[in-house]
């Protein structure tokens, strides 16, 4: 179908929109917002059409490749995985853009805003579309740049500028790992081909990489005395990149600070773009993880721990957006956890995890946009100054409630009734149980289930503190304009029903990601390389396990209800500065102090000051010393010239004498 040939427009149109809006937006209506909206809408339509096409013929993926330079290419790959991501990214971005027309209406720098978000979307679409790892990295970095620009959108605010820098730098740490992975991958491929890369083949294309997984897996190197497969190293370095981008522990520190940007930006970052890129990367290179021993286990542990760790902090935050930020980190942890479960369920893990990603995109976008709506109306982000907002903003309240239920994963097991989160998140928790069952290791499951409880607590805490009760301050407030509530409603519908409607089909669709006309790998076979023992047909979990997520979800709801609605416990007594646990949580485990002050400030900056000292005092000191010394010696020697001619004569005669003696000695030696 001809629509495939328009695939290149998907990232290109938003990129063009960026250029137009950036340079000419000022003179246009609403800061030129219509241009990116239009561009993204077209992208979205193309994406959906291609994906639908793909649904019908899963084998016929879209792949186009162009020579770039040297031995590298640029290409477009739309397979099922990319297809769903494309649809999600373009669609959610579109909604957020529409929403932003209202939300940003008072900001004088609108053209810049819309230009940058358009570029952001373009970059993210580029990540998804890439057919080779390098192009993916390039777009990946552009995503980072845009996040930097957007988080620092209100650059006049020092905190925004600092947050932007922190975001870029922290993700940069991950990016360097990613880049290192690419470099090692490339040189390993080079070694495999014995230095003679085949003509006309772009070795960084995914199909070429996947082809070489057995060879890569067989290559070993020794690190700290133990032999490690080259593939594991590469995979884990890729995962390092994902950790940075997707805010996994320990590189998650930038995400909560990223709230400094406009709320729409937060929504964009947290839902549609940026953070999901990490998960997407792991999913995209999933065959490599499958073939790499231990890699998936690491993914699982990091993801699980992050899910738990972030949700603990979510409980105590008072800033509405910050709660959501921790929620994002936590949910991304789930996705990683889900991918890590590939160790037992193979390809299904990608389906589960990606499904959660899509659902999360809907409900998290919704959560943020609702929060934005509240903030837009109330004028503060501090939940302690809200309360009772639900009365003035009913639509926002209802949509928010839907989103919260989806996040907490409410639904009835065994039926098709449930919010989208129920179908995806609970599925992940189930697979972790499966993992425990097969390996005897229940730690991932415990991570998952405890995090689910905490998730429920913090999201309903937010809901109660914000929307119910009496206004704690005089904030006025009104319902937001329809350009804002419209997207909210659409998203709410999706958050409610998307899961139920698509679950099984989605898994099946994604199965085709690595078996089609472009790439054909056998996951089962790879699992053997990676020493993973896959389990098939696993629908026999105990009922309790099936119900467990719901139980903890409800428990969380009740706890929040008791504390924040009925005020059974006076939180202000617990929430005091003296409570060690609270302090720890509120200060986010002092990560800021650890990361910023100790590592970056004291260590790095200290080291650089030492370098400065060496430079100025030692290296320059030597050079200046030589020159000063020469001048000083010159000053001394010139005094020999006394001006008395007899002394000159003496010098001549002494010179003759000395010369005679010297020559006598030298000649005799010779």
């Amino acid at each position: 179908m001809a629509i495939e040939y328009l695939a290149f427009l998907i990232p290109l149109l938003p990129a063009l929109a960026f250029v137009i809006t950036f340079f000419f937006g000022k003179k246009m209506y609403s800061g030129g917002a219509l241009i990116p909206i239009g561009a993204i809408a077209i992208s979205c339509i193309i994406s959906i059409l291609i994906t639908i096409n793909l649904l019908q013929n899963p084998e016929e993926v879209v792949h186009q490749s162009f020579h770039w330079f040297a031995i590298l290419n640029l290409g477009i790959l739309i397979d099922p995985l990319a297809g769903v991501m494309l649809c999600m990214v373009s669609f959610v971005s579109l909604l957020i853009h529409i929403y932003a027309v209202g939300y940003m209406s008072h900001d004088p720098a609108k053209p810049r805003y819309f230009a940058e978000t358009a570029l952001f979307t373009a970059a993210m679409l580029g990540v998804v579309l890439s057919d080779n790892i390098l192009q993916l990295f390039i777009c990946w970095e552009l995503v980072g740049l845009c996040s930097y620009l957007l988080i620092g959108f209100w650059f006049q605010k020092p905190s925004a500028a600092a947050a932007a820098k922190k975001a870029f730098l922290t993700t940069r740490v991950g990016d360097v790992m990613f880049l290192t992975g690419i470099i090692i991958l490339f040189s390993s491929i080079f070694t495999i081909y014995n230095g003679n890369l085949p003509e006309g083949v772009y070795v960084l294309q995914f199909n070429e990489i996947f082809k070489l997984i057995p060879e890569l897996s067989a290559m070993h190197t020794t690190i700290l005395g133990s032999e490690v497969s080259m593939l594991t190293i590469i995979a884990l370095l890729f995962f390092g990149g994902a950790v940075g981008k997707s805010g996994q522990f320990p590189l998650h520190v930038w995400l909560p600070d990223a709230m400094e940007g406009p709320t729409t930006v937060s929504a964009l970052i947290h839902a549609a773009t940026m953070v999901t890129a990490g998960v997407y990367l792991v999913a995209r290179t999933f065959p490599m993880f499958m073939g790499a021993p231990d890699a998936l286990i690491v993914v699982a542990y990091v993801g699980g721990f992050t899910a738990l760790f972030a949700s603990t902090m979510g409980i105590v935050m008072n800033d509405i957006k910050r709660v959501l930020a921790f929620s994002t980190i936590s949910q991304l942890g789930y996705m990683m956890l889900g991918l890590g479960m590939g160790a037992v369920v193979g390809m299904e893990a990608v389906g589960v995890s990606m499904f959660h990603l899509i659902n999360h995109a809907f409900f998290k976008a919704l959560l943020f946009l609702c929060a934005g709506s509240v903030i837009h109306s109330v004028g503060t982000q501090d939940m302690r100054q809200m309360g009772g907002v639900g009365k003035v903003m009913p639509i926002t309240f209802i949509t928010m409630l839907v989103a919260s239920l989806a996040l907490a994963g409410f639904g009835i097991p065994g039926t098709q009734i449930g919010t989208s989160g129920f179908f995806s998140k609970d599925a992940i928790i189930e697979t972790t149980y499966l993992f425990g069952e097969h390996t005897g290791n229940y730690i991932p499951y415990i991570f998952g289930i405890v995090a689910a409880l905490l998730t429920s607590i913090y999201i309903f805490r937010l809901l109660f503190m914000t929307f119910t009760g009496k206004p704690r301050t005089d904030y006025g407030g009104h319902e937001s304009p329809s350009s804002m509530t419209g997207p909210l409603s659409i998203l709410a519908v999706l958050a409610l029903f998307f899961g139920a409607l698509t679950q099984t089909k989605f898994y099946h669709f994604l199965e085709g990601t690595f078996e089609n006309s472009f790439v054909h790998v056998n996951i089962e076979h790879l699992a053997e390389l990676g020493n993973y023992h896959l389990v098939h047909g696993h629908h026999g979990e105990p009922l309790l396990i099936l119900w467990m997520p719901i139980i903890v979800g409800v428990a969380g709801l009740l706890i929040s209800f008791l504390i924040y609605y009925l005020n059974v416990v006076d939180m202000s007594k617990i929430v005091s500065r003296n409570n060690v646990v609270f302090k720890l949580l509120y200060n986010r485990y002092y990560q800021h102090q650890i990361f910023i002050e100790i590592i970056s400030l004291h260590l790095t900056y200290g080291l650089s000051l030492v370098g400065e000292f060496i430079d100025r005092k030692i290296i320059d000191g030597i050079i200046d010393g030589i020159s000063d010394g020469t001048i000083a010696i010159g000053e001394i020697i010139r005094k020999v010239q006394t001006g008395v001619v007899q002394s000159y004569a003496t010098a001549v005669i002494a010179g003759v004498g000395l010369l005679i003696i010297l020559l006598k000695l030298i000649v005799e030696v010779q």
């Binding site: 020469t630 010159g634 010139r638 010239q641 001619v645 002494a654 010179g655 005679i660």
Partner: protein, 481 residues
């Protein structure tokens, strides 16, 4: 019958000198400018004649005089320097009633140098040496009411006499051991000299005598004082001209006549070259008088040229010989610039003291752009920055040290060369980067002509060195036989 045409340059110059002396009696003070023109004309004629006979190789007058590539090359050097100095002196001596003496002495000293260049006998050489010395003693004291000038002449004279005596003493031993004063004769009979202890003493005394003219450390101590005290045009003559006489004499006597003693004098020159270039540069760094700085720079340059004696390959001699020519232009030019600046300072303020102080160079680029530019070229040439004559000569000279494997010598020379850049750059700094203390001044025409000629020399040798390199090679061949 001897071909007197080959000696025509010397004869012309001597006659012009006498003519000027006589004409001076007849011409009033106000018209004495004409004498400078006559002298210049004579020098130009001599220069043309010398160049026309550049490829002659003949020995004349019972073997006391030889005309070969070496002598012709050096004669060109001497005549060029004298010509530049003469042209500049037209302005310098303007209104001076002793102009006739000045030019006569100048021409006589030139003749002396030329005789040395052609000398094929120690007697000729010594007499020529003395002719050049005695004339310049008087020239150094030309400003006889200026205590500095007289002091300069006095110091020059005393050390000069001492050196002459040492040289003569050394010559006497050479004569004693070889039984002849003819240079080829000595070369034939020098075996016994080389074998005896007196040979070493004779060589050292000769080196002391020549080293005085070359201003090699430790025989250099008169040079800074004299260059500073003497009239600047005379300093130019001393630094650029009579210094080279020391080199050509050393080439004739040491390289040709005493070739068998080469281990001795090569070692001596190695020590002297190193200490000379190092001391010259180090002390030059801290000078505030431009003339003194140039004097020390000239000491250092002598050290570089002396490297030719150490290396003693055709390449090295080519480099050394070419260096004398380059240095003649660079140094003359630089001193003439100092002279112009002195003139400028005096025209600012009649009673100015320390007219050679570096402060007077402040903002020269604004006051006299042409002069400042020329000076920049001269000092960069002295520092060996391409594409100038100084670079070309250093290029060949330093490369020859590498050729013969004396890397240590090359390294020392190169470090010195870099060090010298420091004080040369300081002059440029004063001229270009510091604010001027007065308005624009136009250079007197004679000075301007002389400076432009020197500039042309420096640049032509730098950019199209082929003929000069060729003739320096030819001259070096004379020495290598």
């Amino acid at each position: 019958m001897e071909n007197y045409m080959l000696l025509a340059p010397e004869i012309i110059l001597a006659l012009v000198g006498l003519t000027i002396l006589l004409a001076g009696l007849l011409i009033g003070t106000n018209n004495k400018n004409i004498l400078g023109y006559i002298a210049s004309a004579g020098l130009i004629a001599a220069l043309c004649l010398t160049i026309s006979n550049i490829s002659v190789n003949e020995t004349m007058f019972y073997g006391t005089i030889t005309i070969d590539a070496l002598s012709q090359f050096f004669k060109i050097v001497f005549i060029s320097v004298s010509l530049l100095v003469t042209i500049a002196s037209i302005k310098y001596t303007e209104g001076n009633k002793n102009t006739d003496e000045f030019f006569t002495l100048l021409l006589f000293s030139t003749v002396g140098m030329m005789v040395v260049a052609s000398a094929n006998d120690l007697i000729t050489l010594f007499v020529g040496f003395e002719l050049a010395s005695l004339s310049t003693y008087a020239l150094a004291g030309f400003e006889k009411n200026n205590p500095k000038s007289i002091e300069a002449a006095m110091k020059y004279f005393i050390i000069g006499s001492l050196s002459s005596a040492l040289m003569l003493f050394g010559i006497s031993f050479v004569y004693g051991m070889t039984g002849t004063t003819s240079i080829p004769g000595i070369a034939e009979n020098a075996g016994a000299l080389a074998a005896s202890p007196i040979g070493l003493i004779a060589v050292v005394m000769l080196i002391a005598g020549f080293g005085f003219k070359m201003a090699l450390v430790p025989f250099h101590m008169w040079a800074p004082d004299t260059y500073q005290g003497a009239p600047t045009v005379v300093s130019a003559l001393l630094a650029a001209g009579s210094k080279k006489m020391g080199f050509v004499a050393a080439f004739r006597v040491l390289v040709v006549a005493l070739a068998v003693l080469s281990p001795t004098w090569q070692t001596a020159f190695a020590a002297l070259a190193i200490i000379t270039m190092t001391l010259g540069n180090v002390v030059a760094v801290s000078q505030t008088s431009i003339k003194r700085m140039l004097a020390y720079s000239s000491v250092a340059q002598a050290g570089y040229i002396s490297m030719a004696f150490v290396v003693m390959t055709p390449m090295a001699l080519t480099g050394g010989i070419l260096y004398t020519l380059s240095h003649a232009f660079m140094k003359t030019g630089a001193f003439l610039v100092v002279a112009v600046v002195g003139y400028m300072v005096l025209s600012d303020n009649k009673n100015a003291k320390d007219i050679d102080h570096i402060d007077n160079f402040k903002g020269l680029a604004k006051r006299m752009p042409l002069t400042a530019f020329s000076m920049m070229v001269f000092v960069f040439a002295l520092a060996g920055i391409p594409p100038t004559a100084g670079y070309m000569s250093k290029f060949i000279l330093f490369s020859s040290t590498i050729e013969s494997g004396l890397v240590w010598l090359a390294v020392i020379a190169i470090l010195n060369s870099a060090l010298s850049l420091y004080y040369y750059a300081r002059i440029v700094k004063y001229m270009y980067f510091l604010p001027a203390s007065g308005g624009k001044v136009s250079e007197p025409v004679p000075y301007a002509i002389a400076i432009i000629l020197a500039l042309a020399g420096v640049l032509v040798i730098g950019i199209w060195p082929e003929p000069f390199v060729y003739w320096a090679m030819e001259a070096a061949k004379v020495l290598m036989i």
